[in-house]
C-alpha cells in the first residue's frame, strides 16, 4: 500500500482520486434515488396554512376563510361540495353518555354507523368504537375479545363497547405538547387536525385506547362521504394525525343525537345534557347502578356504563 507505484504499472488499478470521484457520484445518485419519493408529496401546507394561528386565537373571519379553504379542498378531492361548519358549544350544556351493558348485544352497528357518519378511513380501517366481548361475571378487559363473529349475543358473554370517554381530567390533553387537543366548555375533548403534529403522546396517555392514528392518507369512497362536516369533528383528516370520538359534535351541538345512539338496535346507548335534571342521562345517573371504566386512574369520564337494575 505504501509503496510508490512506478509509471507503466498494471492497468487494473485506478488512482484514488478517480475512485473517490466515482464513489461520490454514485453515492449521490443512490441518495437521490432513495429520496425520490419526496417528489410525490402533494400535501405540503400552503403558506396560509403554515402561518395560521391556533384555533382558540382565530377571529371569525379567519375561521370563515379556513372553513372555505377546507370545503374547496374536499370538493377538489371528492367531487362533493360539503357543508363545513364549526358549531360552538351550547351554553349550559355538558354532554354525557351512558351505555347499558345489560342490553348491548355486541352487533357492532354503532361501529359502522360511526365510521360512516365521521368519514373514517375504510382502508386502513379506523374505528372509534371497539366492542369488547367478555365472560359474564367480571369486567376482565385484558382477556376481552374484539374479533368475535356470527350471531350475537353469545351464551355466557356480555359486550362492552369502548370509545372516547371525554374525561373531565383528560390525560391526553395534558400529554399534547402543542395544544392540538383540548377540552371544550361542553365537555367534548376535541382535536384540531391542522395543529396535530402526530407525535402520538396522547395515544400513549389515554387509558381507554380511544385514540386512532392515521398512518396513511384516509381512504373514503366518494359516494360514502358525509358532506355534513364539522371543523373539529368529521372533516377528512390528513395523513399523520390523531383522531377519536367527539360525540358527533357537528350533530350534537345542533341538538341531534350522535349517530351511534340513533343506530343502536337495542337502545343501549343514551346521550344527553348532564346539566338538565330531566334529561335521560341525568335520570340514568339518578336511578341506575352506574360505573365508570378504570375509575382508579382518576380521569372522571363523562361516559357511564349502567345495568338494568
Amino acid at each position: 500500500m505504501s509503496e510508490e507505484r512506478k509509471p507503466g504499472e498494471p492497468a487494473n488499478e485506478i488512482s484514488r482520486r478517480a475512485f473517490l470521484a466515482a464513489l461520490t457520484t454514485s453515492a449521490v445518485t443512490a441518495t437521490a434515488a432513495a429520496l425520490s419519493p419526496l417528489k410525490d408529496v402533494v400535501d405540503l401546507p400552503t403558506l396560509e396554512e403554515f402561518l395560521r394561528l391556533h384555533y382558540k386565537e382565530l377571529t371569525p373571519e379567519d375561521k370563515k376563510a379556513i372553513l372555505e379553504r377546507i370545503a374547496a379542498q374536499v370538493e377538489k378531492d371528492y367531487g362533493v361540495r360539503p357543508n363545513v361548519t364549526d358549531p360552538p358549544p351550547i351554553p349550559g350544556v355538558e354532554f354525557g353518555y351512558a351505555l347499558n351493558i345489560g342490553r348491548c348485544i355486541g352487533c357492532r352497528k354503532c361501529v359502522y354507523a360511526c365510521a360512516k357518519e365521521n368519514n373514517q378511513s375504510r382502508n386502513p380501517q379506523i374505528q372509534y368504537i371497539r366492542v369488547l366481548q367478555m365472560r359474564k361475571g367480571s369486567i376482565d378487559v385484558e382477556s376481552a375479545k374484539t374479533d368475535y363473529e356470527g350471531e350475537v349475543p353469545k351464551d355466557g358473554f356480555y359486550y362492552m363497547p369502548v370509545q372516547c370517554h371525554q374525561c373531565r381530567k383528560a390525560p391526553c390533553v395534558k400529554a399534547c405538547p402543542v395544544q392540538a387537543t383540548w377540552q371544550e366548555p361542553d365537555g367534548i375533548v376535541v382535536i384540531d387536525y391542522n395543529w396535530c403534529i402526530g407525535c402520538r403522546y396522547c395515544m400513549a396517555a389515554c387509558p381507554y385506547g380511544a385514540r386512532r392514528f392515521n398512518f396513511e392518507k384516509p381512504e373514503i369512497p366518494k359516494d360514502e362521504l358525509n358532506p355534513e362536516m364539522g371543523y373539529l369533528s368529521n372533516r377528512p383528516r390528513p395523513k399523520g394525525v390523531v383522531e377519536k370520538c367527539h360525540f358527533c359534535l357537528h350533530r350534537t351541538r345542533k341538538g341531534k343525537y350522535p349517530a351511534c345512539v340513533e343506530v343502536c338496535p337495542t337502545g343501549s346507548r343514551k346521550f344527553g345534557n348532564l346539566l338538565d335534571p330531566d334529561s335521560e342521562i341525568a335520570n340514568i345517573i339518578k336511578t341506575k347502578r352506574v360505573y365508570v371504566l378504570k375509575e382508579e386512574v382518576g380521569t372522571l369520564p363523562r361516559f357511564y356504563y349502567y345495568f338494568n337494575l
Binding site: M1, S2, E4, R5, A11, N12, I14, S15, R16, F19, A22, L23, S26, A27, T29, A30, A33, S36, I90, I105, C107, R108, K109, V111, Y112, A113, A115, R122, N123, P124, Q125, R130, E142, S143, A144, K145, T146, D147, Y148, E149, G150, E151, V152, M203, G209, F215, P221, T252, K254, G255, K256, Y257, E262, V263, P265, T266, G267, N273, E280, T287
Partner: protein
C-alpha cells in the same frame, strides 16, 4: 507504512473500486424502481355494507290490526266472547309462536269483545296507538324507564327546542308474542392491523402493540 501526502498518486485496485461503485449504482436502481416496495400490501377490506349503519328498528310497527289483510272484525264479530277450543275452528293464527312468559291465552292481551283492541285490567279497551299501556300492565318499571328515556330507542333531537324527538314503542323492537330480543348477526370484526392477514387470538389492546399473533 509511510504517510503519503500525494494521495492522488495512490492506486486502488480496479476490481475493488468497480465493486464499490457498482454497489451504490445497484442501490440507486433498487430505490428508483421501488424493487423492495413498501412492505406487505393491505388487506382487502370489503365495502361498508349499508345495512351495518341502517338506523331502522328491528321490527315494523303495524298501524292497524289486520290478519292477512283482513280486519279482525271479518272473523271475530266481537259481539260475544269466543267460545270453545280455537283449534277446532280451522287453522288461522297457528304460525304465531307464543313465548311470552306465563301468558298462554290470546285474551291475556287481546280484547275479547273488540278484537282490534287490547284489554286493560278493568276490561276497558287499549288502542293500538297506546300499546305501551298494555305492556305497562306487567312491565311497570320498564314503562317508567321508557318514559324517562332510559329504556328504548330515541332518535332525532335530544334538544327538543331545536327539533322533534322520535321515540319508539315497545313493539318496534319486541315481538309481542315472543318478546325476548332476537340474536343478530354481528357486523364484521375490526381489521386491527392492516398489514397482517393473521386471524384469531387477537385480544383487546393488541392494536397498540402491532397485534399479538
Amino acid at each position: 507504512m509511510t504517510l503519503d501526502r500525494d494521495e492522488g498518486s495512490k492506486r486502488i485496485p480496479l476490481a475493488a473500486a468497480g465493486a464499490a461503485v457498482a454497489c451504490l449504482l445497484a442501490l440507486a436502481v433498487v430505490f428508483t424502481k421501488d424493487l423492495i416496495g413498501k412492505g406487505p400490501g393491505r388487506d382487502d377490506i370489503p365495502k361498508l355494507s349499508p345495512e351495518y349503519a341502517d338506523p331502522s328498528t328491528v321490527r315494523k310497527v303495524r298501524t292497524e290490526m289486520t290478519f292477512d289483510g283482513a280486519p279482525c272484525q271479518a272473523c271475530h264479530e266481537g259481539a260475544e266472547p269466543l267460545q270453545g277450543n280455537p283449534h277446532e275452528k280451522g287453522i288461522f293464527h297457528e304460525h304465531i309462536e307464543l313465548k311470552h312468559g306465563r301468558n298462554q291465552h290470546c285474551f291475556n292481551c287481546h280484547h275479547r269483545m273488540q278484537p282490534a283492541d287490547f284489554s286493560n285490567f278493568d276490561g276497558s279497551p287499549i288502542k293500538l296507538d297506546n300499546i305501551q299501556l298494555l305492556c305497562a300492565k306487567c312491565h311497570g318499571t320498564i314503562y317508567r324507564d321508557w318514559g324517562l328515556g332510559i329504556h328504548g330507542r330515541r332518535s332525532g333531537f335530544w334538544d327538543t327546542a331545536k327539533g322533534p324527538l322520535k321515540t319508539q314503542v315497545c313493539i318496534a323492537c319486541h315481538n309481542p308474542h315472543w318478546p325476548i330480543f332476537k340474536p343478530l348477526k354481528a357486523a364484521p370484526p375490526p381489521h386491527i392491523n392492516p398489514r397482517t392477514r393473521a386471524k384469531g387470538g387477537k385480544t383487546a389492546g393488541a392494536e397498540n402493540h402491532g397485534g399479538l399473533d
